[in-house]
Symmetry: C2
Subunit: 495 residues, 2 copies
Amino acid sequence: MEAYKKLIELSEELTLLGDTAALLGWDQETMMPAKGVEYRAKQMAYLSGKSHDLWTRAEVGDWIAQCEDDLSSHDEDEDRCANVRDWRFDYDRATALPRDLVVEFQETSALGKATWAEAREKSDFSIFAPHLEKLVELSKRQAECFGYEECAYDALLDGYERGARASELSKVFAALRPELVALGKEITDRGPRVAVDLLAGDYPIEKQQAFNQEVAQQIGFDFDAGRIDTAVHPFCSGVGPRDTRLTTRYDERDFTSSLFGVLHEAGHGMYDQGLPAEKHHLPVGRAISLGIHESQSRLWENHVGRSRGFWQYWLPKAAQYFPHLASVSLDDMVYAVNQSAPSLVRVEADEVTYDLHIMLRFEVEQAIFSGDLAVADIPAVWNERMLEMFGLQVPDDAQGCLQDIHWSMGMFGYFPTYSLGNLNASQLMESANKDCPELGGEIAKGDCSSLLSWMREKVHLQGSVFLPGELIERATGKATNSAAHLEHLRGRYLD
Amino acid sequence: MEAYKKLIELSEELTLLGDTAALLGWDQETMMPAKGVEYRAKQMAYLSGKSHDLWTRAEVGDWIAQCEDDLSSHDEDEDRCANVRDWRFDYDRATALPRDLVVEFQETSALGKATWAEAREKSDFSIFAPHLEKLVELSKRQAECFGYEECAYDALLDGYERGARASELSKVFAALRPELVALGKEITDRGPRVAVDLLAGDYPIEKQQAFNQEVAQQIGFDFDAGRIDTAVHPFCSGVGPRDTRLTTRYDERDFTSSLFGVLHEAGHGMYDQGLPAEKHHLPVGRAISLGIHESQSRLWENHVGRSRGFWQYWLPKAAQYFPHLASVSLDDMVYAVNQSAPSLVRVEADEVTYDLHIMLRFEVEQAIFSGDLAVADIPAVWNERMLEMFGLQVPDDAQGCLQDIHWSMGMFGYFPTYSLGNLNASQLMESANKDCPELGGEIAKGDCSSLLSWMREKVHLQGSVFLPGELIERATGKATNSAAHLEHLRGRYLD
């Protein structure tokens, strides 16, 4: 099988290039001095151009076709099937777009970012609207090139979450939305359980770093194969098979901000560290999707990090770093990190209201791409829905439909992966608890090893053998749905 | 001139690849978690292999030949002449070696490192000797491939210091050596001027970092185009035209260790930052040699950093960071950082004895490559010379001829660049003082801008227009010699 071998070799080369670009990217966000920015952009463009050129050669398409022809005789080899499946997908996506469309999209999104920043600064949607219209038009053209079965939006969605369909997401969201609205209302009506400033105090950054490091290490993040640094926008980046870099940011008046950041990114990071390292250079060795990645970050951030058991073990430890916490009761600590209230801005939203922000975005995106909504009408629709779902008046577009950068980069179909992550996290946690009834007790003793082992087996070590939908069905017995998540939220907020 | 344009394009691509490898290397020494090492080696090998393949194509040789033919009509264009000169040099060196020699050398030096470590650990030269013999033999074969006029050793020297010749170095060293021995003896006979533990105290690392940063910034290192981190073996790495990374290491009982490390590396760094950024992608935009690079590090470390004027300004500042220094007088501070005594180990040597270590190494290397000295006899010769020059008995080979790693990597001809750096530093400083008589007074007020401007003009901005010898002659009016250095040392140690 000469063609398969050639593709494996090429995969290895592209992985080396991709990981090198990932390190350049990590360095840019964490270490690079200001004046390095222009040259770094050149380096990144060079590396991605090289990769693109290597991958889009006509002979690569021939090799893939050859592999597909040969596949019937290897159809019991799951890894091979997944590799060929993903090579095909990546190759078709990379070669689908005519050069002028690629260039026009890059130029428009480069301009779009600056224009969006100005529009948000002035809270004036009309500044951004022409660029957004252009980006929508170009994205529609992209979708036509990629192809789809049901609707153009699916072609974009597919770029972030393989196999996801807007029609299915709509059903899941339709079930989730009224329940979340009702739950949110119930919580608001009941009023807060602890003082907003319960945890207020001085939290020196070095102490936060030491505490976060202790927590991350104990839940299972391997510091011999990773590290934590500081970044304006926290992220996790895998820069090699045994090298995963987390970042967080610090608020000297609130230690939970950096801690939950670390738990979130460590969730991503442990997924990365748990992927099959010997298959790192192959499609099957990769994380399968954003929605699965986010399930891991949300699981460690919310299901573990905001649980009573977690704080049973960690509150006394935290008080060793931050002595004034010694007077905080376990109940109050748990309440303090599980507060919910309607809010205007997604990135500040709590576990209950977060997905409502995503649904709003999803509805608007769908309406734009189906042609039901004109770009100019976005602010009106946005504000109307915010009132309906959150009971909030949007004071200005900066806090409304201009709040996120992603549209300005032409990222349509990306937001739903956050909610998929939340739903998947709850479903995985429910299954893990069923399989290992002792989980909760272990976490309350600071031992997360059973939970991590379960995730390693059911999710991490699977790599990309299965598409996200199938992975979740195999791990939890059900397609992604809202039941486990709603039960989790009710249990946490209403008990 | 199609060929010239093609070479410029290729140069740009190779520079992007080289800078990317430099960042991977910097990251490995400062940031990378332990388990990343294996994959990082793969990445580095991939990048250097790519560069080598791109550069050694036959058509590249044709382009260079074409440029050489065309050069007469452009011989007033200094940049073009230098580019073509260096392309020729680099191409001939890269294509001179047969593949089996390259592979054998790589394998032998890879083994040599481990064997050297074991030999040093056990202080048993016989363990290392067979590998050293092999490396010498392979290096001799390399030298024959590279070609030379006077002796094989010159071909190796040329790889580190363009245009340097053993015969000329021997003359310079012959004049320097007895003077240094005599000066060292005079200092030893006179006895120490201050207590050895004068500066002993607690120097918290964060305070050292803050102080070093203040010093580096004020002497002219641009932190918007660079940074300082911690590394086991301090170095400076330029990872882009406006991105220079320094490293140092800390001794919590001695703040001068990290400070002189930073001054040294900042000297390298300011040279890098002063190179013509718009020519960064061309040979002419590079630093010309190790001996010139080292002149800059030694100048800022020794001529500036150990001068009375420097401490006149910085001792009171240092006392703000480290209060117990308030009781140290300026005289005593200057004496404390300018102590000299014979020592066994080069990297711990002071300004007076340092070059004697280099000369010993240079003599031994020359004798090996001329065939006058057998590898097995190195320890005996080493120990004999140490007694002769330093009056020291070498207790074991670990502290003798096994002390340095470089031979185990097949680096022969590298050590002399350190002494060239010292001599060039003194010569450049003497000329700078002549051109700007106010220099000393400015430094005593914490202002190094005139000195830096002079170096920018005479050295940094020259890039690689002139080979090292010509650069020094143009800047100082004389070929590299020992006069200025001896005068500097006598002035500093005997006054």
